[in-house]
């Protein structure tokens, strides 16, 4: 146990760590190594060509950009949903609570089909949202004519970039809510009562007392929603339109490579996505660890 920095009297460190590492290796690390080894068979030139051709680069911008946006939106709204679910009682609370899991329970393909049906121009929402979107784009063009808004944001909702955003927001939604919820439920009212009795107003209590407690799970939820969105395939291909250089996500390019029997090229792109996501997640985890230590002192 030389790796343990401070001696702890709690038992089970060796057992739990040993089990964790073994299971992790068998299910995740060894199979993933297969992808890395396949990629290592490529020459450097082939690798660069596979992962940095213009189409692939365009897809990174779309996948990472929209995933980031979707995760941010989820962090904001997910926080509010979790707060409302834990703190307020209202009729139908349990139903809303159950609905949160829907994006996981629905197979991604079904989610894609359902979202497309709703947001296509002949769908329930699409039929009135589509004209609003065009109006919004026209307004943006009026305000800032130098930007090609139609190209940047997508000329329509379904079968264009907004569709990608909708699908990615949908599939990432439960992460933020469900990581915040147990922590919020465990949050002791004594803490808030103490703050209130010490003269803090509600805003101060929220920002100085509650929010710091909730920040780690919020960041976790955000990171997970982001990571999940980057890799998502099933729901997005139905609603994205999949036009190369414009609304084509990176996982679709992996499939494309596989269809050419180019397993190496496919794993190469996968490795790039994986390493990028890994670095992002790692930085977030480091940040959290640091902030926790900082917070405790």
């Amino acid at each position: 146990m030389s790796v343990v920095r401070q001696r702890s009297v709690l038992p089970g460190f060796g057992l739990s760590l040993g089990f964790t590492v073994t299971y992790l290796s068998l299910i995740v690390l060894i199979p993933l190594a297969a992808a890395f080894i396949r990629t290592a068979e490529m020459s450097w030139g082939d690798f660069v060509q596979a992962v940095a051709s213009p189409r692939v680069l365009a897809s990174y911008r779309l996948s990472f950009g929209v995933s980031l946006l979707a995760a941010l939106v989820n962090a904001f709204f997910g926080f509010i949903v979790a707060w409302v679910l834990v703190r307020y009682s209202f009729p139908g609370r349990k139903i809303v609570d159950a609905l949160v899991d829907l994006p996981f329970a629905l197979p991604t393909a079904v989610a894609g089909i359902a979202l497309t049906a709703i947001y296509a121009k002949n769908g329930w929402v699409g039929q009135w949202a589509e004209p609003m979107w065009s109006g919004f784009l026209a307004w943006l063009t009026g305000v800032m004519p130098s930007v090609d808004w139609k190209k940047l944001l997508g000329a329509q909702i379904a079968f264009d970039r907004p569709g990608v955003f909708i699908a990615l927001t949908f599939i990432g939604l439960p992460f933020v809510v469900r990581t915040l919820q147990p922590v919020l439920e465990e949050l002791e009212p004594e803490l808030e009562e103490a703050a209130a009795s010490l003269g803090a107003n509600r805003w101060q209590t929220m920002t100085r007392v509650i929010f710091p407690e909730l920040l780690p799970p919020l960041i976790t939820g955000f990171a997970l929603a982001f990571a999940r969105a980057v890799g998502e395939y099933g729901s997005v291909v139905f609603i994205a339109g999949n036009r190369p250089m414009h609304s084509e996500i990176t996982p679709l390019l992996i499939i494309t490579k596989l269809e050419q029997y180019d397993v190496r090229g496919a794993t190469a792109i996968a490795v790039v996505m994986l390493v990028t996501s890994f670095i992002l997640l790692f930085l977030i985890n480091l940040l959290q660890k640091w902030s926790r230590r900082h917070h405790r002192i």
Binding site: R55, K121, N122, V237, G241, N242, E259
Partner: protein
């Protein structure tokens, strides 16, 4: 009394014999649009085989994108027969894993393609945009739906048909590329598979024209109504030959070679050809073809061998990384 016992014994014996007629199971790994066809065909074959040998045969089906299915077989899916969208997807079974001999395509008549199809246009009722020929697809304001040639076998036929049309009409590869690039400028949605494109066109009301397999277009008419859509046959199109073969390594191991071969040969029988024609595949058999002549419009069809020198070459030039399809998007 004794006689009666004997009779019972005999009956029991007969029963045992009937029970020993071995149940055989085949796995047919196929591509997406053939589901309806093979459901009907498998039932007919089971009847035929039972009558001929007394054995029960059940044929399990697996469907998916043609390339994905080929990859599964390469990776160990125990397919007795494969019936895919294009010969290129079967060639890899030899090239990458030696599951079948190199000359697999000569083992059965007609390039091992018991039925054919072609590429047609599905338009909305009344053909409001007046789409008649490939040229109409590049007009401004015509919105086109086709699957992605990188992920869909059917879309590759679409692409090559358009390319060859333009090369014949405008006389050069460069102009053909330009023409195809213009079609793809008009493409609103690139779904990953043929069925996905049909759904987008039919259910979501996207696009003025869907470039589609002939059998898919007919099926869409059947499912969604002749009052909503119609089929436009371009004067020139490509002869799509979806080939079939047994997977030698698998049938040898499983001991199903005889029945698997009979299964594929049954595709060429009158019954098999009838079922194919009923499911909107063009039959090879002359007699059946004449019977269904009213269904299938006569058009000038070119083959991939005469126009592109075979799948391997066509794939390299157009669909491999950096091929013409990549070039028209990345300029």
């Amino acid at each position: 009394m004794k006689l009666k016992t004997m009779a019972i014994l005999l009956a029991a014996l007969a029963g045992t014999f009937a029970a020993t007629a071995k149940p055989v199971q085949l796995l047919n790994v196929s591509y997406d649009p053939t589901r309806e066809f093979y459901v009907e065909f498998n039932a007919a074959f089971a009847k035929f085989w039972k009558a001929r040998t007394g054995d029960d045969v059940t044929v399990k089906q697996s469907h998916g994108g043609s390339g994905k299915q080929a990859r599964s077989v390469l990776d160990g899916l125990q397919a007795d027969v494969v019936t895919l969208a294009l010969s290129g997807d079967i060639d890899v079974l030899h090239d990458n894993a030696k599951l079948i001999p190199r000359d697999w395509q000569t083992r059965l008549p007609n390039n091992s393609s018991p039925y054919t199809s072609t590429i047609v246009f599905l338009v909305r009722k009344g053909n409001p945009k007046g789409i008649k020929d490939w040229d109409d697809l590049v007009r401004a304001g015509v919105s086109v739906v086709t699957p992605n040639p990188k992920t869909s076998g059917g879309a590759r036929w679409n692409y090559l048909a358009a390319w060859e049309f333009a090369r014949r009409k405008y006389g050069s590869e460069d102009k053909a590329k330009d023409f195809v690039a213009h079609i793809f400028k008009n493409v609103a949605v690139l779904d990953t598979g043929a069925r996905g494109s049909t759904t987008t066109f039919v259910q979501r009301d996207i696009g003025d024209v869907l470039i589609s397999w002939e059998n898919e277009a007919f099926l869409a008419l059947k499912e969604f109504g002749k009052d909503r859509f119609e089929i436009v046959m371009p004067p020139v199109s490509i002869l799509a030959e979806p080939p079939v073969t047994i997977v030698d390594r698998v049938v040898k191991k499983k001991g199903t070679e005889v029945v698997a071969k009979a299964y594929l040969e049954f595709l060429y029988s009158d019954t098999g050809q009838e079922i194919a024609a009923r499911n909107f595949y063009r039959p090879r058999n002359e007699a059946v073809a004449t019977k269904y002549a009213s269904t299938f419009a006569k058009v000038q069809l070119f083959t991939i061998d005469e126009a592109f020198g075979g799948w391997a070459k066509a794939h390299q030039a157009h669909f491999a990384d950096g091929g013409s399809f990549d070039q028209i998007y990345v300029k």
